[in-house]
Amino acid sequence: MNFDLTLIWDSVPRMLAGIGITFQLMALSAFLGMILAVILLLMRLSGKWYWSWPAQVFIYVFRGTPILVQIFIIYYGLPQLDFVRESILWPILREPFGCAIVALSLNTGAYVSEILRGGVLGVDRGFLEAASALGLKAHQKFIYITTPIAARLALPAYSNDFISLMKATSLASTITLMDMTGWRRLLRPTRYLFH
C-alpha cells in the first residue's frame, strides 16, 4: 500500500481551484434558492388554492427525491426534450455548471421555503393583533412585523440547510466526473449484453 503524502501536497493547488467553484456554486444557488423560497412561501401563504397547491407539489417533489436524481434529470434528462434544446435556457442547461446551479437552487428553494414557513407560523399572534390595532395594512404587517421576527426564528434552521447545500455541491462532480470515471463503470455491464 502506498499512502503518499507528497501526492496530497501536490494536489493542493488543484483542490484550491475546486474550492473556488464550490463557493461559486454555493453562493449562486443559495441566492437563487432564497428568491425561489420566498416566492414559494408567498404562494403558500396566499390562501388561494391555485397558488398554494403548485407550491406544495413542488416542495413535496423536491424534498421527496434524492438531489442526485434531480441533477441527473436536469443534466442528462432535459436534452431529450426538443423544446428544451430550442429554448433560450439551453446555453445554461448545456453546461454541467449551469445544470448544477439550477438543480441546487430548485432543491434548496424547496427546503428553505419550508424553513421560512416555520418561521412565519412561529410569529406571535399578539404582534399581528397589535399591528392591526395600530392600523397597519396587510402588506405593511408582513414587511415590518412578520419578516423581521420570522427571519430571526428561521435563522438556526437556515444555517443547517446552508451546510446541507455546501455538502450537496460535491454532487456536482458526478455530472462531470461521471463522464470520465464512473460512467465507464456503469456502462460496462450493458456492453457485455450486446457482444
Binding site: Y60, G64, G77, L78
Partner: protein, 231 residues
C-alpha cells in the same frame, strides 16, 4: 412512457436493493446513534471526545465523499493485505452494497446521535424522580420511563433521518451498486431516453418517501394516543 415497458422488472429489482440497503442501514444507524448518544451522555471524558469527533466529522463532510473514501479506502487496504499472501491478486473490495450501507449508516448515525442525546436529555426529571420514589431500579427506570418518553421526543427528527437514509441510497450507485439509478443508466444506454428513465427513478423515490412520511405520522399518532397521564 412506452419506452419503460421492458424495464419494469429491472426497476423492481433495483427498488428491492434500495429497500435492502435502507433496512440494513436503518438498523446500523439506530445502533450507531444509540452508541454515540450513550458515549456523549457518559461520564468518561474520552468517550465524550470520541463521540464528539464522530458527529463533527460525519455531519461536516459530504455524503458522497464518505462513500467514496470508505469504498476505495477499504478496497486499497484489502488489496494490499491480500497481496502479502498472494501477489497474483489485482483487486479486492468490500461489495459496494455493504460499503455503501455502512457509509450512509455512519453519516445518518451521526445525526441520530444528536437526536437521541437530545431526546434522552429531554426526559423530564420529574418522571425519573417519581420512578425513584416508587422504588424502581436503574434498569426499570430506563425501560419503563426513559425509553417510552424518549422515543416520542425523538420520533419527528428520526423520521427526517429515515428520509435522509432513503435519499442517500441513490448515492451508492456511484460506487457501482445496481440499484434504480444504475438500472436507469442501463436503460438509457439502450433506449436513449434519459428524461423518461430518470423520471421513473424520481417517482420510485417519491413513493418511498411518501411511505416513510405516512408511517412516521402513524407512529406519532400512536405515540400521542398511548401517552398516559398528564403532559
Amino acid at each position: 412512457m412506452e419506452a419503460v415497458t421492458g424495464w419494469w422488472d429491472d426497476y423492481f429489482w433495483g427498488s428491492m436493493i434500495v429497500v435492502q440497503v435502507f433496512f440494513f442501514s436503518l438498523i446500523l444507524m439506530v445502533l450507531f446513534g444509540l452508541i454515540g448518544a450513550a458515549m456523549k451522555l457518559s461520564n468518561s471524558k474520552i468517550a465524550q471526545k470520541i463521540a464528539g469527533g464522530y458527529t463533527v466529522v460525519f455531519r461536516g463532510t459530504p455524503e458522497i465523499l464518505v462513500i467514496l473514501l470508505l469504498y476505495f479506502g477499504s478496497a486499497i487496504t484489502l488489496t494490499a493485505i491480500a497481496q502479502i499472501f498472494n501477489p497474483e491478486i489485482k483487486f479486492l473490495d468490500v461489495p459496494p452494497i455493504w460499503a455503501g450501507t455502512i457509509a450512509i449508516a455512519l453519516i445518518v448515525g451521526a445525526y441520530a446521535t444528536e437526536t437521541f442525546r437530545g431526546a434522552f436529555q429531554g426526559v423530564k426529571p420529574g418522571s425519573i424522580e417519581a420512578a425513584r420514589a416508587l422504588g424502581m431500579s436503574n434498569l426499570q427506570t430506563f425501560i419503563y420511563i426513559r425509553i417510552p418518553e424518549m422515543w416520542r421526543l425523538a420520533l419527528p427528527p428520526f423520521g427526517n433521518h429515515m428520509l435522509s437514509l432513503i435519499k442517500d441510497t441513490a448515492l451508492i450507485s456511484i460506487i457501482g451498486l445496481n440499484e434504480t439509478l444504475f438500472v436507469a443508466s442501463q436503460a438509457i444506454s439502450t433506449t436513449g431516453k434519459p428524461f423518461t428513465m430518470y423520471l421513473v427513478v424520481g417517482a420510485i423515490y417519491l413513493g418511498f418517501s411518501t411511505i416513510i412520511t405516512l408511517s412516521v405520522m402513524g407512529a406519532e399518532k400512536f405515540g400521542e394516543r398511548t401517552t398516559v397521564g398528564a403532559r
